[in-house]
């Protein structure tokens, strides 16, 4: 059984490799990419069912027993994120077919697309801190290429900033790993957790934990989001959508994993800091989203708000609030991809991302308008759409546990988020139609399919919350009870 987990990483790796050799066969590249992702999606569903029935699955790479070797761990949290990653990747790929342009396709767009997926899913699945760094770098290197691919002036300028911020934060990541290895003498998450539980989490370990938190916060755009709006606005929207849906989530996942599994002894210190970081991020992100009048900027700031909300929900640190955060992270991946793709179509049609220069698009593009409306409501957390469950659980726990600031800020920022996306909706779709079908810069033919898939999923995840929640609860169960994870990895049987 266990080798099936590694298929999730091998399939995109081999696909990316094979596509290097067929750079000029565009049709072949597209179909291979799509088919490989669909196969990978099926594998992910199989593994999820397996994990759901039998609990966390592990694979010791090269047959080395933990804690000596590298372990790949498929627990429910990781697998849910992997499945969401694959769904988002399929839709972004479908959108990229129509919009990315042959020039980029010829210069290894699909190869790096798949390599980035290897990095993202590897980060979710690994059970080893250094291996997490390696997969982070796989993901980041591919994202460097994607963000600067086919660069115009603006794209090059923004990618320099993106690359610089990420290189420096990766170096700090290395430093944190060095300290942690020096203190605990191990890199395996489960083993590290056991050692810290035995020896107690003293001030030194807490300091390193906070240092590690800052590294991940920089990658997840938690508080330190200053680098995010520029680079996310520069590349083509298919790539921006992929980044917005996936990259920050990897940082959030790392925070979830480290602070639920390893550094959970000093809640009053670390989780308090996380809560305040989340609250400040929500406020600043919401102000940014409400203030800007450029479509790309508004969407980018919405990414920031969601990061703040998920971390704040996690920081409450009860099983239910973590379930809410997990629900919200899956929802956010889907809805951010949807919003970015829809925004990409709007920018493609009008040729501008300034809200004041568009209007009346609903006359020619009713489907586009209504899907945007649904996405906007889902983002704000209106029932029965997918954003509702996550927000409900987190806010309920926040009030129950006495985190009133989180509850208040969560609600107010939801309103501001709703205002920012409805602003796009009103300016883009209401009013006089200034744009005849002939004037449009691109056709929507084929691009509405990925939006429709995502819209159906967003509605389905909200209406079918009853069906989804057992999986989410299982993920939160493992997060709030580290011994489940440790037993599975260290193969401790009762």
């Amino acid at each position: 059984m266990t080798n099936i987990i590694i298929l999730l990483l091998i399939i995109p790796l081999i696909t990316g490799l094979v596509l290097i050799f067929f750079r000029n066969h565009l049709r072949l590249q597209r179909w291979t990419s799509l088919i490989s992702l669909i196969i990978n999606g099926i594998v992910a569903v199989v593994v999820i069912q397996h994990v759901h029935i039998q609990g966390t699955q592990t694979l010791n790479l090269g047959g080395w027993e933990p804690p000596f070797g590298i372990v790949i761990v498929a627990d429910m949290l990781a697998m849910l994120l992997v499945l969401a990653t694959i769904i988002v990747a399929i839709t972004c790929l479908l959108y990229a077919f129509k919009t990315i342009g042959e020039e980029r396709e010829r210069f290894y767009f699909y190869t790096f697309f798949h390599f980035m997926l290897v990095g993202v899913m590897g980060s979710f699945l690994t059970g080893d801190l250094f291996n997490l760094f390696v997969f982070f770098e796989v993901m980041l290197l591919s994202s460097y290429v994607l963000i600067s691919l086919g660069g115009g002036k603006r794209q090059l300028r923004e990618s320099i900033k993106y690359v610089l911020v990420n290189i420096v934060s990766s170096m700090f990541f290395l430093v944190a790993i060095g300290y942690l290895y020096g203190i605990t003498g191990t890199l395996n998450f489960a083993h590290m957790s056991m050692r810290i539980a035995e020896a107690g989490q003293d001030g030194l370990i807490t300091t390193v934990a906070i240092f590690l938190m800052l590294v991940f916060a920089l990658k997840a755009a938690l508080l330190m989001y200053f680098w995010l709006p520029g680079p996310y606005g520069a590349p083509p929207m298919a790539i921006s959508a992929l980044f917005a849906a996936l990259l920050t989530k990897v940082g959030i996942y790392a925070i979830f994993r480290m602070f639920s599994l390893v550094f959970y002894h000093q809640e009053g210190m670390t989780h308090q800091i996380l809560a305040w970081l989340g609250i400040i991020t929500m406020i600043l992100g919401a102000i940014g989203a409400a203030a800007h009048w450029s479509l790309r900027k508004i969407l980018a700031y919405n990414v920031v708000v969601a990061v703040g909300f998920m971390i704040a929900g996690f920081a409450i640190f009860t099983t239910t609030s973590m379930a809410g955060s997990v629900f919200y992270i899956v929802h956010d991946m889907l809805v951010k991809a949807l919003l970015f793709i829809l925004g990409g179509i709007m920018i493609g049609l009008t040729g501008t991302d300034k809200l004041r220069e568009m209007s009346g698009m609903i006359r020619n593009h009713a489907a586009l308008g209504w899907m945007f409306f649904i996405a906007a409501l889902a983002l704000a957390g209106v029932p029965p759409l997918s954003g509702f469950m996550g927000k409900l659980l987190v806010l309920h726990e926040a009030i129950g546990e006495g985190f009133y600031v989180i509850a208040a800020v969560g609600l107010i920022t939801s309103l501001m988020v709703l205002y920012s996306v409805v602003k796009i909706f009103i300016n883009g779709f209401w009013g006089e139609n200034q744009l005849s079908v002939e004037d449009e810069k691109m056709s929507t033919k084929g691009t509405l399919l990925p939006c429709a898939i995502l819209t159906v999923l967003v509605i389905g995840m909200g209406v079918g919350a009853e069906f989804v929640s057992p999986y989410i609860m299982q993920a939160a169960e493992v997060m709030s009870n580290p011994s489940l994870y440790i037993d599975a990895v260290m193969q401790i049987t009762e």
Binding site: N3, I6, I14, L17, I20, L59, N60, G62, G63
Partner: protein, 140 residues
């Protein structure tokens, strides 16, 4: 501008082979001693870069017609195939094995599958390094 670099060219003709054989030594030594695929690849790449420096890019490209970007792909493919091979044979991913084989003339030699993996690393490193260097130097 054409500099007169007879000395560099003459020395390069000899030295590049010494560097290449040192690279091969490092590559094979890497199993038990300091060395390995990455460092072997870098030394190989340095020999090739020396050739590119001493002669010009066009001459060497005609003499050694390798597409270095494809070389990266081939190297990655070799490494991946050796890693995946262990799955096909029913072992955990990335498992490796070794065998002592008696060769005439050389005596007993250890043959390990991890050498194949390292071979892929060598090809990738050579391809990657030269792609970087050539893409900067080509349009000066």
């Amino acid at each position: 501008m054409k500099a007169n670099d007879v000395i560099l060219q003459t020395v390069t003709k000899v030295v590049s082979f010494i560097i290449l054989s040192f690279a091969a030594y490092l590559f094979f030594a890497g199993h038990h001693d300091p060395g390995g695929g990455f460092i072997g690849g870098l030394v190989t790449a340095s020999a090739l870069v020396l050739l590119f420096l001493a002669f010009d890019i066009r001459t060497i490209s005609n003499g050694i017609p390798i597409n270095y970007r494809l070389l990266v792909g081939i190297g990655l493919a070799v490494s991946t195939v050796t890693a995946v091979g262990s799955i096909v044979l029913g072992f955990p991913f990335l498992s490796h094995t070794f065998e002592y084989v008696d060769f005439p003339l050389f005596g007993e030699i250890e043959l390990a599958t991890s050498v194949l993996f390292e071979l892929g690393v060598v090809l990738t490193v050579v391809g990657g390094t030269l792609t970087i260097i050539l893409s900067i130097s080509e349009d000066v």
